[in-house]
């Protein structure tokens, strides 16, 4: 399985090819907007920036290390139980991440609730392990994991930025819309009110759709024939 790749000449740690592994998932191969994976969690936990960032980082850590570990084991894993082995690797990492969040960022871990556990079922993970890590060297797999995790995190953060700003007038919990802009029914001053729709999951879907729209009109290659 891996005899071919090992006979290739060694390339530098950040050769052009390896940089591409890191950069592609941000745009042309973005797991959320192009491959449309991991959509459920990107709808559920993007109401505010802080949980979105924590979730993004958690997924990044899990993709990177599950890719690395699977790639290290790739010549040892019996073919018939490889999906089970991948699941065990991912599940173990997710449990560790969950435990760490509970110990050090308790409030955020309460907001994320089941979604940390559900990282296990995030299609990005199994997709990258099965499609990439099983056939590539550990370093490349690690980079691919970081790239995909970061690609997911970036989309999450963009959605959360828009939703928190328009939905609660805040960013990362800090009020950014001036308090005296708000319409006050008693005094009749102000003109602004938060868009409550933004706090609901359907608007996350619409925000994702707008991001996909903008991306595809800029990069015409992404449009399906």
């Amino acid at each position: 399985m891996s005899s071919n790749e090992q006979s290739k000449p060694k390339s530098g740690l950040f050769s052009k090819e390896n940089r591409k592994l890191l950069a592609d998932p941000f745009n042309m191969q973005n797991p959320v907007t192009v491959q449309v994976l991991g959509i459920c969690s990107s709808l559920a936990i993007t109401v505010k920036l802080q949980p979105a960032i924590v979730m993004g980082v958690s997924v990044l850590v899990v993709t990177a290390f599950s890719n690395l570990i699977t790639s290290l084991l790739r010549n040892l894993i019996p073919n018939r139980i490889r999906i089970i082995v991948q699941l065990v690797v991912v599940a173990a990492l997710v449990i560790v991440v969950d435990q760490i969040l509970k110990a050090y960022v308790y409030d955020v871990s309460k907001q994320l609730s089941v979604f940390v556990g559900l990282i296990i079922t995030n299609c990005i993970l199994m997709g990258r392990i099965e499609a990439f890590a099983l056939g590539n060297t550990p370093w490349k797999s690690f980079l691919d994991g970081i790239g995909n995790g970061a690609g997911y995190a970036v989309v999450l953060i963009v959605i959360a930025f828009i939703r928190e700003l328009l939905g609660s007038g805040q960013l990362y919990g800090y009020q950014v819309v001036p308090a005296d802009w708000y319409l006050n029914p008693e005094t009749g001053t102000g003109f602004y009110s938060n868009n409550g729709m933004m706090l609901l999951p359907p608007m996350a879907l619409i925000v994702v759709a707008i991001i996909i729209w903008v991306q595809r009109s800029k990069f015409k290659d992404l449009i399906e024939k």
Partner: protein
Amino acid sequence: MDINSNKYTYLFSIVMVVIVAAMLSYAAISLKPAQDANIELEKKQEILSSINVVVQRDAAGPAFDQYIKQSLVIRNGKIVENPTQPAFNIDLAAAVSQPLETREVPLYVANIDGKEFYIIPMRGKGLWGPVWGNLSLEKDGNTVFGASFGHKSETPGLGAEISTALFSGQFVGKKILNGSNFVSISVVKSKTSSEHEVQGISGGTITSVGVQSMIQDCLAPYIEYLKTVGSTVAPAPVSADTLTAEVSSL
């Protein structure tokens, strides 16, 4: 060795499971103290919020020591003199499943600027999972001073609204006794008509009913004790009508 043989597959699975199990146990055990500290602080924070002391989680420890003067264990209306475990450590979920007579439950006595309050922790069932809360009573052992509620997994926007101030604020000034009878506080659908009722949440009926039976069930073991402490402050119990008049005139 052929990595696709049965023997190898079994061997691989066994080794993998043992290694992963050992790693996870290590992670769980080494992070347990930090997690428990968080849970303890959160519990203190919730207890304090029922007497309207709102603190950040980090500050909950010192604030708890500052305001909570006594932690008692109550069984069947009487103080347990030498409890097997401190009041704070009592697992309420296990306690409320026991019959009323043998139930040992915690009671916190708070002191804010010289005024005493009794805080009763509660736990019950909502629609999807447990609901819990803390109810604080004034020194007369009858009038509610404050309440806070929490839940594990009630429906957002419906049952989950019990944790908002809009719901818990209704409890302030309500009474749990009518004369010397324990009547608890009901969560009703229509407009509230007495000082023993609060308005439930539309669309959250099962959660509201859960809160009602939680209050009923969790207050019961304290009633005799509250009557004893109440009788030392309040004059002879007044009839409900006079109390309503007093409340409305406030």
